[in-house]
């Protein structure tokens, strides 16, 4: 690990701190995150994240595309939750246009977004468990995620970067058996969640590896801007879907799961419970999908009036915000994306202080970051 290695190698357990690099090529940094760790023995005394390896200048690209042309780009940020990204962007532009998607479109958007939330959490669960050394949950999670991706594929032809929504509503009508597919998935899914719980929730090694690891209390969470499951696990009962409902969330009943200690185990439990709640939302939504148009009349060429808008949704990883400034032309003057992973990652340093190197892996996992979104 010559260049990937230690800068200071006097003694391993001596008085000097040892600096090691984790990443950017490391199995557990979920892409190309690089963390410089200052170690005292195996104890972390400081850290610095080096990011930007995947920086593509998405915000700059936005200024050179029309509003519709930019929509597919947002899928490439958090590529494991492309549908949620698309929802946030489309709704933000709709707000800028002072338009609103028709009810049918909103309900279908809600269904797909909740499925996407489940898929994102499943991928997180699998990789997080893998980081902690449990091999099997990954494959179970992939099995269920596959079902969701199949639904996406049937709906819009794409599985990963879906570009499922359009500004103003939907391009595609729901396919014939969408409700049935979603229902079948939801029916199976309850018992599948139980399988993960059987493997992990009560497992004393799992508890030993996650309890009291990476503590972050609610005050720190808010100060550091951490949102989503990280915030809820620290005991703040807050969810953008309840606080400022968007899409069709105001029509459905669901609970906001919260943790008590704000440790890795709590975040695990919160995400597991969120999957259950998402499943409930899906079940409620397919009960009654209103008939009607799926696209608002926004016109082929979008020229939003001058002004600016900030719109944020509860993405699977936290608050996903879009700040769009229009100068009245067909291209946005400025698009700012508030990436939840980027801001949650700030909390890493606080969380890993005093823990062992081994725990760093668990804590990076528990933050549920996607580097495509961190670096944009």
């Amino acid at each position: 690990m010559h260049e990937n290695g230690a800068q200071k190698t006097d003694t391993l357990f001596g008085a000097d701190e040892l600096v090691i690099n984790m990443g950017p090529q490391h199995p557990s940094t979920h892409g190309v995150l690089r963390v410089k760790l200052k170690l005292d023995g195996e104890r972390v005394v400081g850290s610095e994240c080096v990011i930007g390896y995947l920086h593509r200048g998405v915000e700059k690209i936005a200024e050179n595309r029309t509003y519709q042309q930019f929509a597919p780009y947002v899928d490439r940020m958090d590529y494991v939750a492309a549908v949620s990204n698309g929802l946030g962007y489309c709704e933000a532009v709709e707000k800028l246009l002072v338009a609103e998607a028709p009810p049918r479109a909103r309900v279908i958007r809600t269904i797909l977004t909740e499925l996407q939330r489940i898929a994102s959490h499943l991928l997180w669960l699998g990789t997080h468990a893998l980081d902690i050394g449990a091999l099997t949950p990954l494959f179970y999670c992939m099995r269920e995620r596959e079902e969701i991706l199949k639904i996406f594929e049937k709906y819009c032809g794409a599985r990963l970067t879906t570009h499922a929504f359009r500004i103003g509503g939907l391009q595609y009508e729901a396919y014939d058996n969408l409700e049935k597919d979603v229902e079948r998935f939801c029916k199976d899914f309850e018992s599948r969640i139980q399988q993960y719980s059987d493997l992990l929730t009560g497992n004393s090694i799992w508890i030993g590896r996650t309890r009291n690891v990476g503590l972050l209390n609610s005050a720190d969470c808010i100060a550091l801007g951490a949102s989503g499951p990280v915030l809820r696990a620290s005991g703040v009962k807050w969810d953008m879907r309840k606080a400022m409902p968007y899409a069709a969330y105001d029509q459905y009943k669901f609970e906001i799961p919260i943790g008590t200690r704000g440790d890795t185990y709590d975040r695990y439990m919160v995400r597991i419970e969120e999957m259950r709640q998402s499943r409930l939302i899906c079940l409620q939504a397919i009960e009654n999908i209103p008939a009607g148009p799926i696209m608002a009349r926004v016109g082929k060429v979008l020229k939003p009036p001058r002004g600016e808008v900030y719109h944020s949704i509860e993405g699977p990883k936290g608050i996903l915000g879009y700040y769009i400034v229009s100068d009245g032309s067909i291209q946005p003057y400025r698009v700012r994306i508030r990436p939840p992973s980027f801001i949650n990652l700030q909390a890493l340093d606080k969380m890993i202080r005093g823990h062992l190197v081994t725990d760093v892996v668990a804590i990076i996992g528990t933050l549920d970051i996607v580097l495509g979104e961190v670096d944009r």
Partner: protein, 209 residues
């Protein structure tokens, strides 16, 4: 590009006189608006509610303007008093979450940049946007002591816009390599532009495009 048209019926909104003609001026409903035929309500209106009055009372001229754009509150504040306003917002008005902090470049304006902070209050479930017009040479004070979340966000602004924050604990580039020249999100940085020297030196290729 920014001052192509001026909608006839709109009052000139955002205007702290410091900002030039190119800053976001108001527009009425666009031709493609769904509410055709109905006289469109103006999208930007001056804001005069409890909150804005409290802020104005407290900070007087430092609140350059208060307005509402698509029902979202915006305060335009003076950079010199940013820190006090931020502290007041957090402690008194309970805007405890700095949701986002970014900048917009208006190259033709006298004060070239707008810093834009999105605040959120868990207590009142409300949002507030602070806009801080900023000249090229101006250096705003950092918000890290108020909201630690500003740390990376300010680094990102520094990286992509070249705005320096006074008192920031670790102000260096975050997304781009440390030695990179130029600030890509400025409007005069072309989409195809890159630090060719850096690319050649560090990646061993002629061009990153």
């Amino acid at each position: 590009m920014a001052d192509k048209s001026k909608a006839p019926q709109s009052p000139d909104i955002s205007q702290p006189d410091v900002s030039g003609s190119s800053s976001a001026s108001a527009a009425g409903a666009p031709p493609s608006s769904p509410a055709k035929g109905v006289a469109p309500a103006p999208l930007q209106v001056p804001l005069d509610n409890e909150l804005s009055r409290r802020y104005r009372e407290r900070f007087g001229a430092a609140i350059l303007d208060a307005l509402e754009d698509r029902k979202q509150s915006i305060f335009i504040v003076h950079a010199a008093q940013l820190l006090e306003i931020a502290r007041y917002s957090r402690d008194e008005e309970k805007f405890d979450l700095l949701e986002d902090y970014t900048a917009v470049d208006w190259p033709r304006r006298e004060k070239r940049f707008d810093l834009v902070a999105q605040l959120y209050s868990f207590t009142h479930n409300t949002r507030l946007r602070l806009k801080i017009p900023l000249g090229v040479e101006e250096q705003p004070s950092t918000l890290v002591p108020i909201w630690p979340a500003a740390n990376w966000l300010e680094r990102e602004i520094f990286d992509l816009f070249g705005i320096t924050f006074l008192g920031h604990p670790n102000l260096k580039r975050i997304l781009l390599p440390d030695e990179w020249q130029g600030h890509p999100l400025r409007k005069d940085y072309d989409i195809l532009q890159q630090d060719t020297a850096w690319v050649r030196e560090n990646l061993g290729i002629e061009s990153g495009q």
